[in-house]
Structures are given as structure tokens and as C-alpha cells.
């Protein structure tokens, strides 16, 4: 550190005292977090290379079976090895549905955030408030609400039947579509909020300048507004993509165990599946995917701020 040469003087003493104070103040929180948030992740990593116990739990014996089983499936009877179709399907569904959810929330969230950001200052906070309320509402309750809307005896089917458009209900529940609608619904505020934050900072002089230089509405949007709020677009996409990837409650309620995502597959291994090492390996896989997404995010924000400075 560049302050090291001051360390011997009274200024350095003050600074060292301060740093010690800061660490002491932070320590209790860090201890709890290490015990009940960060630390256990290491145990998951260890469990992923142990053997499965017969009735759940593990046997303390090194084994790569769990990792092998993430990708491959060995037939118990003839011993042949094939790609684990079920796992691949679930992994692919998780990534695909998360991606679709991100795309849809962006499509809806971008115009919404823009409209809020262009309201007069006094009314803006009201509209923002309306976005925040669902955000702080229980995720399970919001998923239940969607359930009530799309189930066979739900609002949409009843409505369509009363209008005579259909004569028997459309099965929407327990499909990929249901999960996607549910995730879009519960994660939409996570897209709108960062988008709004970057649009609020947008210098509308630049929009005026673009119109002044003969740009059409569409060109103003494409050439000026979208490039300038890109950090918000990236932040919102990451904030939606990451929890979608690890979603558990929404696919469980709306996929009904028929359509699983990674989170449900992990739960299965700790419950009925009784294969804790596999569950741990799948958890590490999910964590790795999330970290990869975060890394891409950090990279893109750094390259952005780097070019601004």
C-alpha cells in the first residue's frame, strides 16, 4: 500500500487504529456470514466429491460419481453409459427459460422504465412506488397469484370460456410457458428498477441534440437512448437472469414437479432422490453458471466505465 511509508509516524498510528476499529466493527457480521452463508458453500464443494449414503447423507469416501452423474447416466442393468438426458433437458430448460424471461422482462421493462423516467419529477416517485410494491411482496404469494390466473379454473380460462372463445380450458399450468410467465411476473421489477436508475440519469439534452440533427424518433431511440442506458440494460438483465437460473419456488408451484428447473432437481437429490453428492455437484454447477454470468457482467461494466474515463 502506498500509505506504508507513513506507517511509523503518528499519522500511520492513527490510520492503523482506524483500520483495526473498522475490522472490529465489521467482524461480528462477517462471522455470522461466514458461518451461515459463505462457509457452507465450501462444504457443498466437499460433498460433491463424496459417495452417497444409502438413506441420504454421505459416506466419507472420495468419489467422482456425483460429477459423472451430472452429465452421464449409467444403466444399472446393462452397465452402458449414455448422456444423462433428463439432466441435460433440465439444464437446457433452466438456461432457455431464464434467457426468455430476461428477454421478455426487458421488452416490457424498458418502455415502462422510460415512461416513468420521463414523467414530471413529482409523479415519478409514485409510479416507481407502484413498481416497488410487488418487489417487496412475498414471492410465493405472487406465484400463487399467477397460479390463480392461469390454472384451468383460473381467471383466463374462465374468462375465455364465458366469452365463448374456447369450450374447454387451455392447459397452461405445469408447462414451460407457465414457468416463464411466472418468472416474468415475479422478476419484472428487478428489470425495471436498474433501467429506471440509468434512464433517470440520462441527459435529455442529448436527445434534443439528436432531434436537432434530424434524427427520427426511432433513430433517437436506437442511436442515442439505448447506447446510453446500456449499463442499466445489462444490470437489469443480470438481476433477472441470475435468480431465474436458480429459481425454485416458481417452477415448483407452476411446473408442478413435471417441469423441473435446476433448483428443483437439486432439491430432488436431497429429498426423494437421496443422492446428496449429486445434489451438491448440481449446486456447484448452478453456482458456477451464476458466477460466469456475474463475471460477464463485471467485465462489461468495467469495459464501459474504462472507456468513459
Amino acid at each position: 500500500m502506498k500509505n506504508d511509508k507513513l506507517a511509523s509516524g503518528p499519522v500511520g498510528d492513527m490510520q492503523r487504529k482506524r483500520t483495526r476499529r473498522n475490522w472490529l466493527l465489521s467482524a461480528p457480521a462477517l462471522v455470522v456470514l461466514a458461518a451461515a452463508a459463505s462457509g457452507p458453500l465450501l462444504i457443498v464443494l466437499v460433498y460433491s466429491v463424496l459417495s452417497a449414503g444409502e438413506y441420504g447423507g454421505v459416506v466419507w469416501k472420495f468419489s467422482t460419481d456425483a460429477w459423472f452423474n451430472v452429465v452421464f447416466f449409467r444403466d444399472i442393468f446393462d452397465g452402458t453409459t449414455t448422456l444423462a438426458d433428463a439432466h441435460m433437458k433440465i439444464l437446457w430448460r433452466s438456461v432457455r427459460l431464464s434467457f426468455m424471461t430476461t428477454l421478455i422482462t426487458l421488452t416490457i421493462g424498458f418502455p415502462t422504465a422510460y415512461v416513468i423516467a420521463t414523467r414530471p419529477r413529482e409523479t415519478r416517485s409514485f409510479w416507481l412506488f407502484l413498481i416497488t410494491v410487488p418487489f417487496w411482496t412475498n414471492l410465493l404469494i405472487r406465484t400463487f397469484a399467477i397460479l390463480e390466473v392461469i390454472r384451468n379454473e383460473g381467471l383466463i380460462n374462465i374468462g375465455l370460456q364465458m366469452l365463448g372463445v374456447i369450450d374447454k380450458p387451455i392447459q397452461m399450468l405445469y408447462t414451460d410457458f407457465a414457468i416463464m410467465v411466472g418468472m416474468t411476473y415475479v422478476y419484472l421489477p428487478l428489470m425495471v428498477l436498474p433501467l429506471y436508475a440509468s434512464m433517470e440519469r440520462l441527459d435529455f439534452n442529448l436527445v434534443e441534440a439528436a432531434y436537432d440533427l434530424y434524427a427520427t424518433r426511432r433513430k433517437v431511440l436506437r442511436r442515442v437512448i439505448i447506447p446510453l442506458v446500456k449499463p442499466g440494460i445489462i444490470a437489469g438483465s443480470i438481476l433477472v437472469f441470475i435468480p431465474s437460473l436458480g429459481a425454485f419456488v416458481t417452477p415448483r408451484v407452476l411446473g408442478g414437479g413435471k417441469k423441473m428447473m435446476l433448483g428443483n432437481l437439486i432439491e430432488l437429490q436431497f429429498g426423494a432422490g437421496r443422492n446428496w453428492p449429486l445434489g451438491a455437484a448440481l449446486s456447484v454447477t448452478l453456482l458456477a453458471l451464476v458466477m460466469a454470468a456475474l463475471l460477464i457482467y463485471v467485465r462489461s461494466t468495467q469495459s464501459h466505465s474504462g472507456s468513459v474515463r
Binding site: L206, A209, Y211, D212, L213, Y214, A215, P227
Partner: protein, 377 residues
């Protein structure tokens, strides 16, 4: 556009329509209690190829007028014509008018060259035309070396040049400049003033320049409109504005002024004989549209007066010297008049001449001939 100019010239050289003509323009912001009258029945004509300045303190409506011409806002009532064609309600991307913004509003995600080519691209110009124009513009503002820089890596002065080049690139019929020099330091501002004036001369484009800096306005403009609380008080050349201010606000806002009250003795044509409160009689020209009678106010610029040691009752004014303010190039003398008001005279300093006056002594002031101006109000 070019066609407009052609048809105008065919009709008759001197009946060329004005570059900008604002007719009885009123602009109201907000409604109900928060209603603000930003422009109050403003009419104005700006000729082709003019360097025209809108001058006034902040909140006088000068920027509002500029924004109406640019198309960022629409007038509440009244019309704005661009070369004889009404543009009052045309969106900004359909007006051949470009703006240099106060904070430059350069696109931070584009290079210098991309900023300059933006307008040309939007107009659908061919790539080779764009390439050439961008090159010309970079040369015009002496920024060739920085064409691929991002605009947020530029200094204030450089940003200013890019903003100018960007606005000039599409060759607008009128260029609007909204206090473009206010963010620059004093020395750079002085240089840019000269450069801007030269640029206007070279390109032949009508410039409408907004500023609150009277010195800037006097330096650069062909004509100046002085604005105050949504109205235009006086339009004229810098000399007219300075030497024949029509109203007290104009005289006070531009340069230093002494105001004296006087009684009208006689009116002969456009000339009046006045009696100052000191008892002295002076003559003054009558500004247009005024019929002086009774009691009036006159203005005397400090530099058109001279201070003398009091020897007798000669001179236009008598008083006691209260303060001597040495300013390097010249000295200001603050004189307390018998009616307790302060009168300022100014004299240029000479080399190696020691101060001839001291505070507390009685002095008299003599006005130069024709230096007394009658004010309309």
C-alpha cells in the same frame, strides 16, 4: 435550404425573406398557480447572414426564444418563420436549424468524427459526401488530429469546437448558440469570441447567439436584442445599444451608467433642452417613440465625463469626492452629489502621473458634448 435561397433571389435581391422572423410570440410554461410567462408577445426579425445576439440576465426568456426557434418547445401563441416559411409547430428534426448547446451535449458513446457525421447520416447523405464534410469540418475547427477520440476525453475548449463542427456540418440555415462559451475560462473565452465571429463570416450562416455576458455580446454581434422578463427592450447594433440605451434597464445592464433626473425645458424637433437637478442646463437627443415632458431621467456614461478640482461653479455637476478606485487601466472617482446620490466618473491612467485628487475634496464634473442620453423610462 438551397432552393429557398434561389427562389428568394430570383424575386428580388432586397426582398429576401428574413432568416428568422418571430411574430407576437408568447410562451407560457405550466398552468394554474405555477404558470410562468416566459415570453410576452415578442416580435423580432433577424436578417440573413447576421451575427445576432439575445442578451439578458438569466430568466429573461432568451433561452426560451432559442428553444422555440430550434423546435424543442412550441409557442403558446404567435408564429415563427424561417426564411418566410412557418415552422412554429414543426418538430426539430424537420427544421434546417442546428444548435450548439450550453453543455455541448456531445454524444459520449461516439467519437469526434461520429458526432460530426451524425446529422449528415440522419439526413441520408452518401458516405463519400459525409466523409468529405466531416474532414472539412474538422479542418474548419482545427480538430483533425482528434477525429477518433471519444468526446469525454476532450478538454472544454475542444468539446466546444466539436459541438460547433457538429452543428455546422449539415449546413443549417440558422445556427443557434446557447451560451456556448460560459463553461470556458476567461482567456479561452476571449479567443473563442474572435474565432466564432470569424467562423460566422467565413461560413455565411446566420448565427443566433444567447448570452448574459454584455461584453461578449458587444464584441461579437452585428446586432443585439436586450431582453428582460420575457420582453425585448431594445434591438440595435452594439454602438446603438451602448450609446443610445432606450431604457434604464438597458443602460444599467450594459456598461456602467450614471442616472440623473432632469426637467424638460424645451423641445426642438428631436432635441430637448433639459435642466438637471443641480441647476445646470444640458441638451440631449430624443429617442424614437418618445415625447418628453415634465420630469425625465438621463444617463451619462462615466467615461464621457471629466473630473476637475472645484475652482468655481463651472462644470455640469458639483460634489464631494468620496472614493478613488484604482483599476490599473483607469481610475474611478465616486462623487457624492448634493442630493446624496453617487456619481461615477472615469479617467484613463497616464504613465507616471501621480494621483491629483484626494478623498474629501470638492470637485466638479464636466460632460462631453452629446454624452447625455434621454431615457424612455
Amino acid at each position: 435550404m438551397a432552393e429557398n435561397r434561389g427562389t428568394g433571389q430570383e424575386k428580388a435581391e432586397h426582398s429576401l425573406p428574413a432568416a428568422i422572423s418571430a411574430q407576437r410570440v408568447t410562451k407560457v410554461f405550466g398552468d394554474g398557480k405555477n404558470k410562468v410567462l416566459a415570453l410576452d408577445d415578442v416580435s423580432l426579425t433577424i436578417e440573413e447572414n447576421e451575427f445576432f445576439t439575445l442578451l439578458g440576465p438569466s430568466g429573461c426568456g432568451k433561452t426560451t426564444l432559442l428553444r422555440l426557434i430550434a423546435g424543442f418547445d412550441q409557442p403558446t401563441s404567435g408564429t415563427i418563420l424561417l426564411r418566410g416559411e412557418e415552422i412554429s409547430h414543426l418538430p426539430p428534426n424537420q427544421r434546417s436549424v442546428n444548435t450548439v448547446f450550453q453543455n455541448y451535449a456531445l454524444f459520449p458513446h461516439m467519437t469526434v468524427a461520429k458526432n460530426i457525421s451524425f446529422g449528415l447520416e440522419m439526413l441520408g447523405k452518401k458516405p463519400d459526401v459525409i466523409e468529405k464534410t466531416v474532414g472539412d469540418m474538422l479542418a474548419l475547427v482545427k480538430m483533425e488530429a482528434l477525429r477518433d477520440r471519444r468526446t469525454d476525453q476532450l478538454s472544454g475548449g475542444q468539446q466546444q469546437r466539436v459541438a460547433l463542427a457538429r452543428a455546422l456540418a449539415p449546413r443549417p440555415q440558422v445556427l443557434l448558440l446557447d451560451e456556448p462559451l460560459s463553461a470556458l475560462d476567461y482567456k479561452l473565452r476571449k479567443e473563442m469570441q474572435i474565432e466564432l465571429k470569424q467562423l460566422q463570416h467565413d461560413t455565411g450562416i446566420t448565427f443566433i447567439f444567447v448570452t448574459h455576458d454584455q461584453e461578449e455580446a458587444l464584441t461579437m454581434s452585428d446586432r443585439i436584442a436586450v431582453m428582460h422578463v420575457g420582453r425585448i427592450l431594445q434591438v440595435g447594433t452594439p454602438r446603438q445599444i451602448y450609446n443610445q440605451p432606450s431604457e434604464r434597464f438597458v443602460a444599467d445592464f450594459i456598461g456602467k451608467s450614471n442616472f440623473l433626473s432632469a426637467d424638460v425645458l424645451a423641445v426642438e424637433g428631436r432635441h430637448a433642452r433639459l435642466k438637471l437637478s443641480s441647476g445646470q442646463e444640458v441638451g440631449a437627443a430624443i429617442p424614437d417613440g418618445m415625447t418628453p415632458d415634465g420630469s425625465v431621467t438621463v444617463v451619462v456614461r462615466p467615461e464621457y465625463t471629466q473630473i476637475f478640482p472645484k475652482s468655481n461653479d463651472a462644470g455640469d455637476l458639483q460634489g464631494v469626492l468620496e472614493n478613488i478606485v484604482y483599476l490599473g487601466t483607469d481610475t474611478h472617482y465616486h462623487i457624492r452629489l448634493p442630493d446624496a446620490s453617487i456619481f461615477v466618473t472615469r479617467s484613463q491612467n497616464q504613465c507616471k502621473v501621480t494621483e491629483a485628487f484626494r478623498a474629501g475634496q470638492s470637485v466638479s464634473v464636466v460632460f462631453s458634448p452629446d454624452s447625455v442620453q434621454l431615457l424612455r423610462c
